[in-house]
């Protein structure tokens, strides 16, 4: 591959409510047995990108833990490999002030690479893409910057960057989180450009004390540089809010989504842990649900996504809910429309029902030594 990868995984996802306290969005568990960043990393690995930098900042411990070994994504390499790029305290800075600033502070990483292109991707998207196709498009159009975009139909479209493309797919309009949208084409936060151009733009930003890649590069330069939109037609989702996180997980209950991500080539990789198969006791009643490895299910589970190592006691009723990793649910508990935070311990008979939208349940596990 002619590119290096940069994954922006430093965001704090303030709309993730209490879920953000435990980890950054890129480390959010997703689809039962993955983490958000697995998608960006697997796509890069599957596109033969051999050198990937992950820019981290906010609450990165869980993410660091997940990335403690790079071999799961075939990035444990002698040449290239996976680089974690947290902010470093230096004479002039000690925190990334924005996406462009984060990239600028790792300018030496970019300078020391030899690949011609840089793929910049956010760490919170759920999608499959071959970045080689995007680079081919980029070269074909003679573009300076290519933004991967997709058509979006959800009602929360105003949380995205909205693009207007002309007939040649060149971006003529770019508005970040507008109040009124003029099109339904959104930026997916994946950008491709030449490495030298990126270095030049970042130095320019620094000189002008600008820090945000979208606002200060894409929008500011859209009439000067040739910025093109590459349309992605397959499944794409990201999880910037609790609602979109919930919806993305529930999407995996659809056969076509499962088939696309779990069974079709190429695969999505993740850190492998050593959980036994999911176990179902004589009293289990499960329908339309995903049950991950290491679970023991004795109750009723409907239309839910159960993550790893979850224990569901007898006569429990779990509906339309997401139970994150390592949760213990005592007998006779009722959980509806909830996201149960990982490592919670729900007492027998406890009842949680999300009345207006999704409720986030966090119950400290008193059995766990902290």
């Amino acid at each position: 591959m002619r590119a290096i990868g940069m994954i922006l995984a430093g965001g704090n996802g303030s709309r993730m409510r209490e879920l953000q306290n435990r980890r950054t969005v890129a480390a959010m568990p997703i689809a039962g047995s993955y983490r958000a960043i697995d998608f960006a990393l697997s796509n890069m690995s599957n596109s033969n990108i051999q050198k990937v930098g992950v820019i981290t900042q906010y609450n990165a411990r869980s993410l660091n833990n997940h990335l403690s070994s790079s071999k799961w994504w075939d990035l444990g390499r002698k040449r290239g490999g996976l680089y974690l790029l947290p902010p470093a305290v230096t004479g002039e800075s000690w925190w990334y002030k924005g996406t462009a600033d984060a990239l600028y502070q790792n300018l030496s990483f970019l300078r020391n690479s030899r690949e011609q292109y840089v793929v910049i991707a956010s760490g919170d998207g759920v999608y499959k893409i071959d970045y080689n196709d995007v680079v081919d498009f980029h070269v074909l159009k003679g573009a300076d910057i290519t933004v991967v975009c997709t058509e979006y139909t959800g009602d929360d479209i105003t949380r995205f960057g909205i693009l207007n493309l002309d007939e040649d797919a060149r971006i003529v309009g770019f508005e970040e989180k507008p109040l009124v949208t003029k099109s339904n084409i959104i930026s997916t936060g994946i950008y491709i450009l030449r490495r030298r151009l990126l270095i030049q733009l970042l130095e320019q930003c620094r000189a002008e004390d600008r820090t945000d890649f979208v606002r200060d590069v894409l929008i500011r330069y859209k009439d000067v540089k040739k910025i093109y939109g590459y349309k992605m037609n397959r499944y794409w989702s990201n999880m910037a809010s609790v609602e979109s996180y919930y919806r993305t997980n529930m999407d995996f209950l659809k056969p076509e989504v499962r088939d696309y991500f779990f069974r079709q080539y190429p695969a999505i990789y993740s850190k492998k842990d050593d959980n036994p198969p999911a176990k179902f006791s004589a009293d289990s009643r499960v329908s339309n649900s995903l049950i991950s490895s290491g679970c023991i299910i004795s109750g009723t589970v409907e239309d839910s996504v159960i993550f790893k190592k979850v224990f569901v006691g007898k006569n429990c009723i779990i509906k339309n809910s997401i139970i994150l990793n390592d949760v213990y649910i005592g007998d006779n508990a009722i959980i509806e429309n909830c996201i149960v935070e990982s490592r919670s311990m729900l007492q027998p008979g406890s009842c949680h029902k999300g009345e207006n939208g999704v409720e986030i349940v966090i119950e400290k596990n008193k059995m766990r030594v902290t």
């Binding site: 779990f262 069974r263 990789y269 036994p276 198969p277 179902f280 004589a282 049950i291 490895s293």
Partner: protein, 395 residues
């Protein structure tokens, strides 16, 4: 080379010919077990959990799937600079090198491998048994008795048949009589074919029998130790241990796992069993189906009924299909309306819609070989031959 106190040699060459078509293409130790595991995962994880980080895996019969499963040992943390796992293919004298044709022969071929690490002790472990055992405790026992070789052993339950050497021991556990002939056992204490040797003594014995065509631990080496008045002791083991020599035993041992509190638990944090699995996706269970007393591995999907069964990774049970009292290995497809009862279905098989596999009566089990294609509506009550070919896609 860094010196190691104890290293292990895993004997993974055996076919397990009594398993019939299940081991047609694969050594017994690479046969899947408990859904996502393979039999060798148990001894291999035992070794790693016992703190042994240098392991030679001796292969012989159909080693491809075994060697690709182990690779460089990443799942067991055996990808190491010093030590780690080494695949040691045996040049082999026999074709079916089951236990009868000699267990020590392959080890004798790799004296140089063991000598690299200059160990005090060498542990010999069969790779085709399912159990959890701490070999460090066995080493403590070996040292406490000042033994020259310690043989792990079990009591044969009353009425059970003996399948390896038997021993008479004194009050301290020192072996007084060692009877390799299984036809005339001298006691109910049976060898588990797991031996802990002082390396220098074992090496001497291996070299002594250099000229033997067939070299066996129980027929040659241990009797030789006794002849030389060495201390041979028996380490008695009372825990869970399954040999699964036949398809029926294999089926039974798998189905034991679906019980509420099986003797072999995968769910305790202590003593994890590691494996090399590619499938990561969670299991999916569709609307209006019934899954009870079952193990579902990663990536499996159930649209029908699964009762008292073990389902392997990536296997699909379609709408209206019923799987009962059965073991289905990885990547199988059970089409609509098929009924599978009291059966073992090996990996990659397709069961056509409306087919009936096995019978509900206690007339023994039905075994379907790897990559079989059972046509729609077929009735297979007892099957031990391969059906259909690899041609043709899944319906």
């Amino acid at each position: 080379m860094i010196r190691k106190e104890m290293i292990a040699m895993l004997l993974a060459g055996g076919q397990g010919s009594q398993l019939g078509i299940l081991t047609d293409n694969v050594a017994k130790s690479a046969l899947s077990f408990g859904g996502k595991y393979r039999i060798i995962d148990f001894p291999l994880s035992n070794l790693v959990n016992s703190g042994i980080d240098t392991i030679g895996v001796l292969t012989q019969y159909r080693p491809l799937r075994l060697t690709s499963h182990i690779g460089i040992g990443i799942p067991w943390d055996l990808d190491r600079n010093s030590g780690g796992v080494a695949i040691l293919p045996s040049s082999g004298k026999g074709v079916d090198s089951d236990w009868i044709t000699g267990t020590a022969g392959p080890v004798a071929e790799y004296i140089d491998y063991i000598d690299q690490y200059d160990p005090d002790y060498v542990l010999i472990v069969p790779a085709d048994r399912v159990y959890k055992m701490d070999y460090e405790v066995m080493l403590d026992y070996h040292i406490a008795l000042d033994s020259d070789v310690t043989v792990a052993s079990m009591r044969v339950p009353e009425g059970g048949s003996v399948s390896s050497a038997t021993m008479l021991i004194d009050a301290y556990g020192v072996v007084e009589k060692f009877e390799p002939d299984t036809a005339c056992p001298c006691s109910n204490l049976e060898s588990m074919r797991t031996y802990l040797f002082d390396w220098q003594l074992l090496k001497k014995a291996l070299l002594m029998f250099k000229e033997e065509e067939v070299l066996d631990f129980e027929k040659h080496i241990i009797p030789q130790f006794l002849k030389e008045d060495r201390i041979v002791s028996a380490y008695e083991w009372n825990g869970y241990y399954r040999d699964v020599p036949t398809a029926e035993e294999y089926w039974k041992a798998n189905l034991e796992l679906v019980g509420e509190r099986p003797e072999l638990s995968f769910y305790e944090k202590f003593w994890t069993i590691y494996t090399n699995g590619e499938n990561l996706a969670p299991a999916y269970i569709a609307d209006s189906c019934n899954v009870t007393n079952a193990l579902l591995s990663e990536g499996s999907e159930v649209y029908g009924v699964v009762e008292r069964s073990v389902i392997g990774p990536g296997t699909v049970v379609s709408e209206g299909a019923v799987v009962r009292n059965s073991v289905i290995q990885e990547d199988c497809f059970v089409a609509k309306g098929a009924v599978v009862e009291n059966a073992v279905i090996a990996r990659g098989s397709t069961i056509g819609s409306g087919a009936v596999i096995g019978s509900g009566e206690g007339s023994g089990i039905c075994v379907i070989g790897e990559d079989s294609i059972i046509p729609d509506g077929a009735v297979v009550l007892r099957q031990t031959e391969k059906v259909g070919g690899k041609e043709g896609d899944r319906p």
